[in-house]
């Protein structure tokens, strides 16, 4: 496995490296017609579970400190006001806020664009790169795709600020051809879902392409060979063999991207500051939660928004988990 794939497909690798030796051992035992001694297996299980505990303990502690406890605190805040139980008051207030529904609509439209483009183009590009015969060409492509992912959210927005401003952009001719003569026209509110999709795709897709490539590598050569013998071309192989077998990874990508997408914050906030407010500071749901907490001093309302966001993102993720069979064992 080459360097680029080994860095990015860590999750794939964990699965393959952990399961492969065990599977190999089991099959070799089966071939020899011998049962492994139960005490050996218990020893192995115990030491594996010990090391497993060590590996996950740090993560669990951090998850509790920065994930679970803050969530519980948010639940507490969202149902209280000045320390006493307030029922659904905070939620009603949030629903009635004139900025709430537009913010939900903005994020929903953005998610449709972003997830659709991610699901279609990432899978397509991964299949194309995987199909390349020359090894050096395939790894070069993966490397090139991966580079933009090295830029963090805020810095990539900074870069896009230049690209989107016709007075300094190297692709100004393109912007002007689309009818955008000034930065203000380019970042008008109707264009934002597309702009954020382009930014997010540009920074995030490369990593996912490499992961999908890893998933494609996991598909047994025998299966592909059989398909080829049965007369399936590249398109049929992709549609009937490769994509169904990548289902788990595609739904994993969808869940992770959905979680990141619903929390849209950095991009509109940087763009809002850079455009001196032309991009409104209450564009996304998370921005609205931020305004509730820090401009209005209403931590309870802010917690209510966060909880609503969590519920919606959780419900949508559940759809992907069950439809994608993410937790099914092979």
């Amino acid at each position: 496995m080459d360097a680029a794939a080994s860095t990015a497909t860590k999750d794939t690798l964990i699965t393959t490296t952990v399961t492969a030796p065990a599977a190999a051992a089991a099959s070799s035992e089966a071939r020899r017609g011998r049962e492994p001694s139960s005490s050996r297996r218990r020893r192995l299980d115990r030491s594996q579970s010990r090391i497993g505990t060590v590996f996950v303990s740090g993560y669990v502690l951090l998850l509790l400190a920065f994930g679970v406890f803050p969530t519980l605190y948010a639940v507490f805040l969202s149902f209280t006001k000045d320390g006493s139980f307030a029922g659904l008051d905070n939620f009603i207030k949030v629903f009635n806020d004139y900025r709430f529904l537009p913010a939900v609509a903005h994020v929903a439209i953005y998610l449709v664009f972003y997830l659709a483009s991610l699901l279609i183009f990432v899978v397509l590009l991964a299949l194309l790169v995987h199909g390349l015969g020359r090894r050096w060409l395939s790894s070069s492509y993966r490397f090139v795709y991966y580079i933009p992912g090295a830029l963090a959210g805020a810095s990539s927005v900074m870069l896009w600020l230049f690209l989107l401003d016709p007075s300094v952009s190297p692709v100004a001719f393109l912007l002007r051809a689309l009818g955008f003569d000034t930065f203000v026209q380019t970042v008008s509110i109707d264009n934002l879902p597309i702009i954020f999709t382009v930014i997010a795709f540009w920074t995030g897709a490369g990593g996912w392409i490499v992961i999908m490539y890893g998933a494609l590598n996991n598909i047994s050569g025998d299966v592909l060979e059989a398909a080829r013998i049965d007369g399936a071309g590249p398109v049929k192989t992709a549609l009937h063999i490769q994509i169904p077998l990548m289902r788990k990874w595609i739904s994993y990508m969808a869940i992770m991207s959905l979680a990141a997408g619903t929390q849209l914050f950095v991009e509109p906030r940087v763009l809002s500051q850079a455009s001196k407010g032309v991009v409104p500071p209450d564009y996304s749901i998370n921005q609205l939660a931020y305004l509730f907490a820090f401009r209005q001093g209403d931590f309870n309302g802010s917690a209510a928004i966060s909880l609503l966001l969590l519920l919606v993102a959780g419900a949508l993720s559940a759809v992907f988990v069950f439809r994608g069979g993410l937790f099914e064992r092979d």
């Binding site: 203000v184 026209q185 407010g277 032309v278 001093g297």
Partner: protein, 454 residues
């Protein structure tokens, strides 16, 4: 033996846990209490005072030199200077961090500089149970003698119910800037009223197209220069009531004026801070109403218009014919002392130094709010020979005639203007088309901030 050992370990752990919890309880009791034994000699509950307590000061990068000058002049005081983005127009860092300190009950800085005048409306109120952040300054902390030294009206934005919550660093009244050389060359008179300004725009459009009389491409110009300066009641507060009247005769006249001048091309939709503005208009600005700080930010700035010495003049602000001679205002920083400070004497000393000392005059880039400092600064500026005409008198007149009908609620009119009007004009709409949306946005914002909207 082993079980005894385990029991003693358990006992030790229990004691340690109990001690830890007691310590946490004690600490939280210390930090949440605002009484603390300092008494209320200043009109608020001060914490216990310590003349040697270090002062933590938050400044933007432009105010760092004056804070350092204070540090040098007071070697006996420990001053921790922290720079933050206090000068960025849309920044909420100050409010955000104070909200978090209010929640945690500790961590407040002693002095903060902010360019946002609407900070007073939240900093003077108790948030989430903590003492209001801004210390009352006129009930014992600063002397009346000192406070009386500020230019008339300078402390109005920071005064709530006769309590002064901050001292103004600089003033930013709107004057009428003009290019003397070009005006003479074209044979035009400097306008003194809004009516003359509009008439001049028609002449310029017909006789010298391409020359401009101002910009509406930044979010501060529409609200602060035109609507405020022309006495339009679109952003007013009275107690907890907020009103915005775009159908008032003055408001309608401003809307009409802006549309007329955008139409004839003398008002442009480019930001005065954009790269484009310098390229397109550095020698095309015939005149424009603007704040006092345009002097350093645009005309004398090598990275901006960089006007040659002796070409630019400041004239008295424009007003409607036959009506009060008032003007608008664009900013002017404010220094806040913290009511949570353990060294309020140090805070008072700092506030006096940064507003009225000789260093304050030397290190300021704008018109000082303290009258004596302002006089010295204006004399220095006038004698530098950069500006033509009676620079000192124009700025002084403007400084004392800012219209006091404009409101200072806890939100800024710039946000709504930026997101509604600027893209709207860029898309070809008129101010008259956009005024209802702008008004609606103002009223909505006021309502979510807790104001009664009328």
């Amino acid at each position: 033996m082993a079980s005894q050992h385990r029991r003693s370990r358990l006992a030790l752990r229990t004691i340690a846990l109990a001690a830890g919890m007691a310590a946490v309880a004690a600490l939280s009791a210390c930090s949440s209490g605002s009484g603390g034994g300092g008494g209320s000699d200043y009109g608020f509950n001060a914490v216990e005072q310590d003349a040697n307590a270090p002062l933590t000061v938050w400044v933007d990068s432009s105010r760092e030199p004056i804070a350092k000058a204070f540090q040098a002049a007071n070697p006996d005081l420990t001053v921790n200077i922290e720079t933050y983005d206090g000068s960025a127009g849309g920044s909420d860092s100050f409010k955000t961090k104070v909200a978090l300190f209010d929640q945690s009950g500790s961590g407040w800085p002693d002095v903060v500089f902010s360019t946002q005048q609407n900070d007073t409306s939240w900093a003077s109120k108790s948030n989430n149970g903590a003492e209001p952040f801004a210390a009352v300054l006129n009930q014992g902390l600063l002397s009346d003698d000192f406070l009386d030294g500020f230019t008339d009206g300078a402390l109005t934005p920071m005064t709530v119910d006769d309590k002064v919550y901050g001292v103004r660093n600089d003033l930013a009244p709107v004057v009428y800037w003009y290019n003397d050389t070009l005006m003479k060359e074209f044979g035009y008179e400097v306008p003194t009223t809004w009516e003359e300004y509009v008439a001049l725009s028609d002449k310029v459009a017909a006789e010298h197209p391409g020359y401009i009389l101002g910009s509406v491409g930044d979010s501060f110009q529409g609200p602060y220069i035109y609507y405020w300066g022309a006495e339009a009641p679109v952003f007013q507060t009275e107690g907890d009531t907020f009103t915005s009247d775009f159908s008032d005769p003055n408001s309608e006249k401003v809307t009409e004026m802006l549309d007329h001048m955008i139409e004839n091309g003398t008002l442009v939709n480019d930001s005065v801070f954009g790269a484009d503005f310098v390229t397109k208009y550095s020698d095309k600005v015939l005149g424009m109403p603007g704040p006092a700080w345009y002097a350093g930010a645009l005309f004398q700035n090598p990275d901006s218009l960089n006007s040659p010495a002796g070409t630019i003049g400041a004239a008295a602000p424009l007003s409607w014919e036959g009506e009060d001679k008032v003007t608008g205002n664009v900013g002017g920083g404010v220094w806040y002392g913290s009511s949570h400070s353990a060294n309020l004497e140090g805070v008072a000393k700092f506030l006096e130094f940064v507003t009225s000392s000789d260093d304050a005059v030397k290190l300021t880039s704008g018109l000082p709010a303290y009258q004596s400092a302002a006089d010295t600064w204006l004399t220095d500026q006038a004698s530098s020979g950069f500006f033509v005409g009676d620079f000192k008198s124009a700025i002084s007149t403007a400084a004392s005639s800012v219209w006091d009908g404009w409101g200072f609620p806890s939100f800024s009119p710039e946000t709504a203007y930026a997101s509604v009007v600027i893209p709207g004009i860029a898309a070809g709409k008129t101010m008259a088309d956009l005024a209802p949306d702008l008004q609606k946005e103002y009223l909505n914002q006021a309502q979510v901030q807790g104001y009664t909207v009328k």
